[in-house]
Amino acid sequence: MQPETPEEQQARVLTLEAFADTIIPGTKRSADDRAIAGVSPDGGAVESGALALMEDPAGGVSLMLGTLSEALNAHATRYAEANGLTLDPAVPPFVGLAFDHRTALLSHLLAPDNPEKEMWVGLALFSNMAYDSAAHMNTRDALAAGHPGLLAIGITRPDDDGLWRFPEYSYGRPLSRPHPHTTPTGSPA
């Protein structure tokens, strides 16, 4: 296998970031950010670490990322042709698609009857996990660093020892009649 050139690496990163941004959209990191479509006012999957999670050897997709990126761009090229779209040659084809078109293409690739569905589901899973659980880093560190996904979801901070405890947790009163046939052990009859 040939080592990746810097241009190939950049194309791969931009493409995978655009994929992750379609799953959980975010805000552009800078005015010239092409990977992130910028349809959301705060950080999304990319800023949450989607690339780091995809590239983590522990995840199991890191060795496939080049292949997946190329396949996604091939799909994007065909999609653009089929829909009469002109793509900017300065960026990879998938990155050149507007957000709605990226969404439409991924909806097709992730559909239950798509023969390639499984590989795209894997990427979607990692994109989502980066945002909802920061699985590439310690949860406590992610919270301390202001991880955009965990903050948006509203995860509370743990105690000083890194463990969560909720001493206030109950309404403290009966809130329903139990089933009339409940047995003495508390089970259904």
């Binding site: 379609t22 799953i23 959980i24 959209p25 959301s40 999304g44 999670l53 983590d56 050897p57 522990a58 995840g59 199991g60 997709v61 969404t103 991924l106 909806s107 992730l110 239950p112 589901v121 894997g122 979607a124 899973l125 989502n128 996990m129 945002y131 909802d132 659980s133 920061a134 699985a135 310690n138 949860t139 406590r140 948006a152 979801i153 509203g154 995860i155 509370t156 743990p158 890194g162 463990l163 969560w164 909720f166 001493p167 947790y169 109950s170 309404y171 403290g172 009163r173 809130l175 329903s176 009649r177 139990p178 089933h179 009339p180 047995t183 052990t185 508390g186 089970s187 259904p188 009859a189």
Partner: protein, 544 residues
């Protein structure tokens, strides 16, 4: 390759189905070796952390199949270490179910009445306790109040959690750091060790063969402690009795892979898999309506906003566990907590204009995560699951170094199962969408198929050899001396959480296994004792 080892009994797996017979046989004097494919963790190693490589991925497996994904334990203690410890008994009608075969699928010897004494034993051993309303976390209380508002009943569910130790951290799926959850690491397994049983973690059994003296040879590979995709040494151990309790997603795979060395398996090995009819809905609550309609408020004035707080499922409605309803239309609805990392991607946006499970609207839904309430359906499915050819090793082709794999299970829900799910979905909406309380959507099956946290029935007991792999003593048909005592032995969906039923069946199977061992010359007796509990989980030093 290590070989030449022998013992009286090899137990494959250390969850409920393995730990219970391991304890009784060791207590009765047999030499017992437990082979567990997963690691052996102490309480201090149960992390509050989603990072890959933490206990959350070390002890938990998510196996994607064709139309069905299975979530389960992968550690010493098995499912009991990652479970939510909700322990109701199965309703009486369940034992009379006919399911897909048109006649009673449970053995004639087993009814709720005959199983109740065995349920009692497990309740005492763990222990399992009734739960009181004053200790029910917010999510359970909210569901109960919504049920009451809809004219329905709701129960705090019996649980194997010591609520005085519980911090309501909702990290149960990563193991209980506080020893509040009564896993097998605190009762049956330490008691088995005290009686001389040996537990070998990271030993993955691949297949069985026969020995010249009428016993069995168990073939295993040693699994890498960090990257489960890597297998190290192979070895064998001979035994007079083998108890297969690797879980319903693995037990049939081991037996199927053993066909070339053991001979033909009963046709029900790897068939009749049930996902316990499981399905999830996500409700997103309007906090104003929670306060106005249900009159609920927390000390700071919020109505709910507490999805993160609790200890898994604590309240269920059993109104539809009605024996007069037709089969496939009976189910329980249980409030549940599903952790981040796996618990958001399948949730769907109500009234989605574009994609329902990803994209901008989904991100907006995630912002309201603390107002989510997950509702768990356990219904009567049709035992539709079938295992294809076994993978090269283990029960799945591992994708990630831990947790994520691809397995050979195929599942296509029948019209019966779909009818039950549709009824339960409608019921969930009826309860939770009243008066603007919440919006409710089922999890999508379009991403990883259906899913279950309670795999069952892939090697089941029964009276009919054509539709059951085991007789009513849990012995594998045509292969005397091999017993199966895990969730795969349960004949069908239970409509409630199955751990207590799996454990009770394992308790019930032990006297018969002891008799079989005696007949094979093992000096063992059945005492009927129960294990002494321990305060905290600490692995024993494992001989090399």
């Amino acid at each position: 390759m290590t070989s030449g080892a022998s013992t009286d009994v090899v137990v494959i797996g250390s969850g409920f189905g393995g730990a219970i017979p391991a304890y009784h046989l060791a207590a009765g004097g047999a030499r017992v070796v437990v082979l567990e494919r997963g690691p052996w963790l102490s309480s201090e190693e149960f992390d509050h952390d989603f990072k890959l490589g933490s206990s959350y991925t070390r002890i938990f497996d998510f196996t994607v199949g064709d139309g069905m994904s299975v979530l389960g334990g992968n550690c010493v203690g098995g499912g009991s270490v990652v479970y939510f410890a909700t322990m109701p008994r199965a309703p009486r009608f369940v034992f009379e179910r006919q399911g897909s075969i048109g006649r009673r699928m449970w053995p004639a010897a087993i009814t709720r009445d005959t199983l109740d004494p065995w349920y009692d034993r497990v309740c005492e051993a763990l222990p399992i306790t009734m739960q009181s309303w004053d200790k029910v976390p917010y999510a359970g209380g909210l569901f109960a109040a919504a049920c009451a508002h809809a004219g329905r009943t709701a129960n705090p569910v019996p649980s194997a959690v010591d609520v005085d130790k519980c911090t309501n951290c909702n990290w149960m799926m990563a193991g209980c750091r506080f020893d509040a959850k009564r896993s097998l690491l605190l009762n049956y397994l330490p008691a088995a060790l005290a009686h001389g049983a040996e537990i070998r973690p990271l030993h993955e059994v691949q297949h069985l063969s026969r020995t010249d003296d009428g016993g069995y040879r168990v073939h295993y590979r040693v699994v890498d402690g960090e990257d489960y995709r890597i297998l190290h040494d192979s070895g064998t151990i001979d035994a007079k009795i083998v108890i297969v309790a690797a879980g319903a997603g693995a037990t049939p795979v081991i037996l199927q892979r053993s066909e070339p060395t053991l001979g033909t398996m009963p046709s029900a090995v790897g068939r009749y898999f049930s996902g316990n009819g499981e399905r999830l809905n996500t409700a997103v609550f309007d906090d104003d309506r929670v306060r106005e309609v249900l009159g609920l408020s927390r000390p700071d004035g919020r109505g709910y906003d507490a999805n993160q707080i609790g200890r898994g499922p604590t309240v269920a409605t059993w109104d539809k566990l009605d024996p007069d309803l037709p089969e496939y239309e009976r189910y329980s609805l249980e409030q549940l907590f599903f952790p981040l990392g796996l618990g958001t991607i399948l949730a769907q946006v109500p009234d989605a204009q574009g994609p329902s499970w990803f994209g901008l609207a989904k991100k907006d839904m995630l912002r309201r995560w603390q107002s989510w309430l997950t509702l768990f359906t356990m219904s009567e499915d049709d035992n539709e699951g079938v295992f294809g050819p076994p993978p090269a090793t283990g029960n799945a082709d591992r994708i990630s170094q831990q947790m994520l794999g691809r397995g050979p299970l195929r599942y296509r829900p029948t019209a019966n199962t779909l009818r039950g799910w549709a009824a339960a979905d409608a019921d969930a909406r009826d309860i939770l969408e009243r008066d603007g309380l919440a919006r409710v959507m089922p999890w999508t099956n379009d991403v990883v198929g259906a899913y279950t946290v309670h795999p069952l029935s892939s090697c089941r007991i029964g009276d009919d050899p054509a539709t059951s792999a085991l007789d009513d003593r849990h012995e594998l048909r045509q292969h005397p001396g091999i017993f199966v005592t895990d969730g795969s032995a349960v004949p069908g969906a239970l409509t409630v959480n199955p751990a207590l039923t799996i454990a009770a069946l394992a308790e019930r199977a032990v006297p018969g296994i002891v008799r079989a061992a005696q007949e094979r010359g093992v000096p063992v007796t059945y005492h009927g004792s129960l294990p002494e509990g321990t305060a905290t989980a600490v692995p024993q030093v494992v001989p090399g």
